[in-house]
Symmetry: D4
Subunit: 134 residues, 8 copies
């Protein structure tokens, strides 16, 4: 069972702390919790995202969605649409535009994917049937 007072904790590499704050706080509307020389911690939709400063790869490849990405599955379609509108109004580029997956199955859901300045991919989803959220 999900205890509302516990937090999911995710640590990811980023290559530039300022760009990270500009993207997550300035664009996506997350809150900056703490900033250190080697990392920033964010209140990412209520959970903790720790962005560790890492050296950028010499030859950055195009990121791939599978198998590694993270994001939020919204319970209410309204919240999903609301975030989608924010991304459009602020001109955040999409890695993958909004799309409907498995439209004929119980697993049907809407999804879009963003890409942060360090090529981490962030997926936001909403399922028609909330029982499929897990």
């Amino acid at each position: 069972m999900r205890e509302g007072h516990d937090l999911f904790h995710l640590a990811i590499p980023v290559y530039d702390l300022d760009a990270t704050v500009a993207f997550y706080v300035g664009m996506l509307g997350c809150k900056l919790a703490r900033r250190y020389d080697d990392r920033v911690t964010l209140d990412f939709f209520g959970d903790q995202l720790v962005c560790h400063l890492a050296s950028s790869p010499d030859a950055p490849a195009e990121p791939e969605l599978y198998p590694r990405h993270f994001g939020v599955t919204f319970r209410q379609e309204h919240d999903f649409r609301s975030l989608l509108r924010l991304c459009r109004e602020r001109g955040i580029p999409f890695f993958r535009e909004v799309d409907r997956r498995f439209p004929d199955l119980v697993e049907a859901h809407d999804t879009f994917v963003l890409r942060d300045p360090s090529d981490n991919l962030i997926e936001f989803k909403h399922y028609d049937d909330p029982r499929m959220m897990y």
Copy 2:
């Protein structure tokens, strides 16, 4: 603000679905939500963990904790201790034993790290001061 009805969504690579279920469900006590040919989805401490079947690296390296790992930050020390006891009673090997970080700072917290069969690292934490959870 963290809305209790939304879920954090994390997708990670795994190399063997059976071993993944055995570890997360059988050992760690997570719940299996769905199983497909190419992935399993788990109720991981209330959030969604999707384990995508990926090919194992030819030359597996020793995993490193930074910059990439995930886990749970518990609000109550009791829940942290309770999970620690489960790990010990079930003989789950630790990647990093329980440790106290920044003991003299407000950021003081207890932490231990597990390693799943696909070398994903999972950190569990508890902060003395819950305001540092983010």
Copy 3:
């Protein structure tokens, strides 16, 4: 008063653990919590269902709805409809199709009944007036 943190606990006989998991987890969308040689425990709509392996009756009779069955009474009609759609989309056979009972009384409710592979009957209900849920 219903305490959200307590669980209803129901133990029922099943004749085949694999078939049980296939039905409750694979079809109905429940979560598998634990599996042992002689039982599986399920997160059944938030409560605990323990399925104990029992020997199948020699002469199985057609199951009867009364007096013994279990299920869920949904507060929101939307959740009832959503589960009904899941059953149809996944082709789960109905023991009793969706029906309206006591349409002229305050006790009016919609209901349908499923049958698990071990002939346990599962009723899902939604009352027009939530005060009749008990």
Copy 4:
């Protein structure tokens, strides 16, 4: 996920409605929600228990705990102890006295079993580790 506003629904056979009310309401402290000629419905620790009047078996056998029984798994040990004290103070006979199961495992829990006037068995449990409640 357990939605606080949905109810678990269990229907069981009873052989005497007055005795049923006397046991569940008068002794165990459940609340009587509705009474009809052929059944009573109870608020059983927050969920719905429907007791259908059935004919008593000609040759009643000693009831067996497995595979069929129901009850409540308490989140707080205090609530488990409190109910146990009520049973003792009111002299409710135990089918199985309070006992500790799997004391050396993570699944360790305290449990006792009551028997209603129609030989339905009711188990109350409390796990040391709440993650084992399912």
Copy 5:
């Protein structure tokens, strides 16, 4: 502030315990919590109503709404309407039919009044503006 786990407690005189249970439980859909020789206690819309057996007045007068009555103020109009429909479908006589009070003021609310078998008056209300509920 209203603490969800505390209960309002109201004790009233009644002249006949059976008639009291028939009215509050059988008609109005409240739950019977406890019955003693000299009183019954009810779960009255979530609060505690204790009905003490008293001797009926020799010359019962027509009850008056002011200054003494009790009831429930619903937050949602839907719940108010739902109870109103229950009263009509079950033929519970109204002491005062549904009415709109102070229609031009912020204090505007809908209300109806029932009379229990012992002439206690019960008012149910719904305010347009929930800030007027107190």
Copy 6:
């Protein structure tokens, strides 16, 4: 079930609005919600208490606790003790001092009774076993 957003509504007679406000707000710590010429409405421990101005009886009798009084049943003993201390520190006279009722039964509870300036009696209670609160 007690819906946190609904309010219990109790209307009582009082003989002096200023004295009523002085007692409930100034002494007992309730909040004044609204004041009119003929009544005041109070946030009484989270529920609505409406005090209607009535003419004082010519020959006031000593009030009796049964069958008519009202109050609060606290879930936590701490809250009961806290209010008791407030009454003592502010010198509010007791109609009936704190007392323990039914000490040997499951119904055991602590209780004290206050008397407002219009002779309405107010009982505050705390049960050892919260299942007896109804």
Copy 7:
């Protein structure tokens, strides 16, 4: 994270306690919690507002909205509209009429400003996108 049981505490100067109570309680519908010779404390939309009696400035200037004011940001537009209607029905003068700010940005919100009898300015807001509430 906002803990529902903590209160924001704001202390402001007022020049007349009676006028303050008349405005906040009588007009705006706040609740009076405590009154002393030199201050009143109010339940202001669930938080604590302490109005300290101060001497009125000799030459009162027209108040300015920036940089100092306070108020409430509503999550639901309905609650914002409901308060706006209350202000109109009760003829509370507006310091700044309802207005839409930043209509083309994600920060778009509706707002109106009241002025209390001591020239404190109170702003009420509702954002289209609740993620902008902070």
Copy 8:
């Protein structure tokens, strides 16, 4: 009644945005929600604090606690103590050290006051009796 999803909104003048962020985010542990050229918005203990850039007074006077200040009243003493410890460990200077006010009255509470870089005073409190929080 305090609706958990609404926010208190307070706007204050500050003379330096960087110093403001350093104090509220870096020292006090608040979260930065948004930053503009002329203001920053903070998640201040769950409510919204907007810090508007204003010109510093020519002749800054020693700030006075009355009548104008703001802060948080904690429900749990533990949270008050926890913040006090944070202030000490991080060496935040106190405007007024921790103190006990009205020790012999029901209004007894602990309090300490901080001063932000723009001379705004921030009071944190904890009352022995939570009913005095308003």
